[in-house]
Symmetry: C2
Subunit: 139 residues, 2 copies
């Protein structure tokens, strides 16, 4: 895990330094909420991440200990990416983002069920996200 | 409130587009967790934001409806900044960030009390942050 110079020892700043950009949280979203594991799958998300940015962010996320990279057992020329415990432990944060955005922004119809669950059964939703039971094909 | 073209209708992307940078969450932290309201006070935070970046982010946060700007009644040549309900409603998100960073990163001694409260009395902490009862001089 790379240790770089921090601007401060503030816990908020810690997250901002790791994830404060336009893409890192979206890659983690794809892994956590849609179960994507392959490089090519991240490229298909709606926000259209560029391949060089994706490659660079995957390295940063791995260095930060949020994701792990391994050879795909089904195809040894490929890699699969998975969340570490540190990455999975962002599930409550993602649920709060869904709740906040759900209050202040248009929610697409296919997200309404998750928003309802976040409002009424937050703890169960977090658990289902962590275990991969709550996944969407696209987010 | 400015409406710009969004990359997608995803609720996670909504937050990333508004706050996915190296400074916006720190400015909101200063308002929410330390009660800062004045331009000059944001400049004194440990991460040392540059004045041009601060000015630009304050405009973005105001356009996004997260903060409001008003003349300081005590000095009409100055402005004070305050959080809107939309900004205050980020309190649960900040508490989750504190919890996550507290688990995976060094916590400075002066943050331990808040971390303990986040772990054992999350709901009370969120309420105290919203009402301004839980504030630090520096974060």
């Amino acid at each position: 895990m790379k240790e770089t110079h921090s601007r401060s020892d503030c816990p908020i700043n810690y997250l901002v330094e790791l994830l404060g950009d336009k893409w890192s949280l979206l890659i983690l979203r794809d892994m956590l909420l849609t179960g994507k594991t392959a490089y090519g799958d991240f490229l298909t998300s709606k926000e259209k991440i560029a391949t060089n940015i994706l490659a660079s962010r995957l390295v940063s996320l791995e260095q930060a200990g949020l994701i792990a990279k391994a050879r795909d057992p089904a195809n040894h020329r490929k890699y699969i990416y998975s969340l570490t415990d540190k990455g999975l432990d962002l599930a409550p944060l993602f649920v709060e983002i869904v709740l906040w955005s759900g209050k202040y922004h248009h929610v697409p119809p296919e997200r309404e069920a998750m928003l309802r669950m976040a409002r009424t059964q937050k703890r169960s939703l977090i658990q289902a996200i962590r275990t991969g039971e709550q996944q969407e094909t696209q987010f």
